[in-house]
Amino acid sequence: MASIDKPAGELPDTVTEALSAPDLTAAAVEVIPPEILAQSLGQYLRAWLARARSGDAGVLPVAIALVAVTVVFTIVSPNHVFLSAGNLVNLFDQSAVFVVLAMGEGFVLLLGEIDLSIGYVAAIGGIVAANLVQPTPNWPWWAAIIAALLVCGGIGAIHGLIITRLGMPAFVVTLAGYLFWFGVMIIILGAAGGVGITSTVLPNQQALYGLVYSYIDPVVAWIGLVVIVGLLGGALWLRDAGRRRSGLVAPPVGLTVAKIVFLAAAGVVVVAICNVNRGSFLPIVGVPWVVPLVLVVLAIWTVLLERTPFGRHMYAVGGNPEAARRAGINVSRVRTLAFVLCSLTAGLAGVIYCSQLGGMTTNINGGQLVLYAVAAAVIGGTSLFGGRGRAIHGLLGGLVIGAIYNGLYLLGLPIQWQLIATGLVLLAAVSVDALSRRGAGSGSLAHA
């Protein structure tokens, strides 16, 4: 046996030298994310371009899509009305449903699963909330929303338990759920075929309706923006600066600054647009309440996914379920909870949809909603193959889908063209996803 006369923890020099030598087999399978290695903003941009060229484009496709859709619809819409403040606020309202649905769908896509039922689960959520603010039982609006979320979370738990306990494919179980909850929706709505929340004498109905149709005072909105950007920007700065100081992996200073500037700019643009008077007779100004609501959902789900052990376990299960299992993670529990979170989030989307429509009717097309949700998540950058996805992807993709939906409506194109356009966009998004995956795959083949 070799004698080691160095203290424990030290290796003999020969071994040390060998290991410090460049590893010739280290042909990278994928490209290392640029923010990890770059020392300056310039280096970061170069690394970022290199990565985009190699197929893994990050948020580039969705950013291009958003700009392209905006430019095209601004040009072709009558009087360039697409870019008017009134229409943009309308677009935010319409997109809110797609954004929140896509964030929900993102939880199951992250595990490489799919949930086809959330369109009608969302409808159930909207109907539960709407029914609870009727003259009887006249629940407080917030209690109605919580009840809707709980009901939808329960529906997700049923789906998740059937999938994990009986080992059935999510595709089939949630397809069954699609039909089942469609049927339940029609039964609940009954002979009337709908339920409204537009009463002007019931405060709880007004509150629910006001999610989309009441507005934050412009001054309050500006103050709120300053506070939010200050807190978020400050937290980001402190974290990155702290990590740089203690020698941990951190993005270059320029990138941190750029992120904060971008955050502030986006906030200013949104608040400024919403604070333009968009009324024709009476003045209408202000940020609709649904905008901060969506941002709160985004913040909570981002923190859950990226800052908690549970979120980390979701990524692990999505990336390699067997590795997750061997690491002691309860994979079935994580999968079940993903379906719970998905349906619960869909329930909130349903409440927003109910507010936007002023009620729920049997005309709701849950099939189209779920396809928009999947499309939005994938367009935003979530992988259909699992392991990659963030809540912000739902926001970005939901805005693209909302813009297409809104723009085609402005053109007066009938529904069939909306369907065709959305189908093409979904196909394009999935192609980008598959291509970036193929790029990675061939890399690892060449490596093996």
Partner: protein, 284 residues
């Protein structure tokens, strides 16, 4: 890391199966003692009543042909598979290891043959997977990153460009190094490595063998699976040979030579049969 135990002096050997002499000097109480472990998958019987002792401060090499059941035995100990029959004694107490968590809480760490790393997570995230550090309810990223960096530096894993790069961007050898680092970072008492050097170049192999010696010198029980008899003879104190799911030999290294190990692996017996000779325990 809690590595206080002194290395045990090599005691005399005790042949497997209890069939031969028991007059050997007192063996140290094995850290883990397997008795009659059987495991089947449907019609495939992977293990037939396997006995194995893993003493502390010793490296036990588990040899056997492809499909002999080495990985299945490892996974039974690691809580990935539950054995159909048999018992496991951990420090003399009977234990049931049903999940990977059970194994980890006893102090058993495993480097799997099919590397159990999540490609989409970075090195730090993989090393702490399932055992993340938290401050209040949120992940303590800074603390985990420092601890992972210290462990990798202690193992002289210096070729990775960033500890925050996804594991998918690592070479095979680097992944192996991360998997080994992940296993030795915890307060473990038994480390099992399933073909840890299979993907490695000469230098990295030397590193892993050196690491195995260090674990043993710190009093840990180590089990290594390897097809490379050079590695086995370089690092092992004891050899156990599985053939078609049966333990056909278990003894001190000195009782074997390369040919006899190959004979056991391929035919289940040896012209210099240590089981039959019954004298092999008189080491040196």
């Amino acid at each position: 890391m809690d590595m206080t135990a002194e290395p045990n002096p090599l005691p005399g050997g005790v042949p497997a199966g209890g069939s031969a002499s028991v007059a050997a000097p007192a063996n140290p109480e094995p850290l883990l003692r397997l008795r009659g472990i059987s495991k089947h998958f449907g019609a495939v019987q992977a293990l037939y009543g396997v006995d194995l002792d893993l003493p502390p401060g010793q490296v036990t090499a588990l040899c056997g042909d492809n499909g002999a059941g080495k990985s299945v035995l490892t996974k039974c100990i690691a809580g990935i598979h539950e054995p159909d029959e048999g018992e496991m004694l951990w420090e003399g107490r009977q234990v049931h290891i049903r999940t990977p968590k059970d194994a980890a809480s006893l102090g058993i760490e495993t480097v799997y043959q099919d590397l159990a790393l999540a490609d989409n997570l970075d090195i730090v995230q993989n090393m702490f997977l399932g055992r993340e550090r938290v401050s209040s309810v949120f992940l303590d990223e800074d603390g985990m990153e420092r601890a992972a960096a210290d462990t990798l530096a202690g193992l002289r894993v210096t070729t990775v460009r960033s500890i925050r790069q996804p594991v998918a961007t690592l070479s095979g050898g680097q992944r192996q190094a991360v998997a080994v680092a992940k296993a030795v970072m915890w307060n473990s008492k038994l480390v099992m490595l399933d073909e840890p050097t299979a993907a490695l170049g000469v230098a990295q192999t030397a590193m892993v063998l050196e690491l195995i010696r260090r674990l043993k010198d710190h009093g840990l029980a180590v089990m290594v699976i390897s097809h490379n008899l050079n590695d086995v003879f370089e690092v092992a104190d004891r050899i156990a040979v599985l053939r078609l799911g049966r333990m056909v030999a278990e003894d001190w290294l000195s009782s074997f030579d390369r040919q006899s190990v190959v004979d056991f692996m391929t035919t289940g017996g040896s012209s210099r049969d240590v089981l039959a000779s019954g004298s092999s325990h008189d080491k040196d």
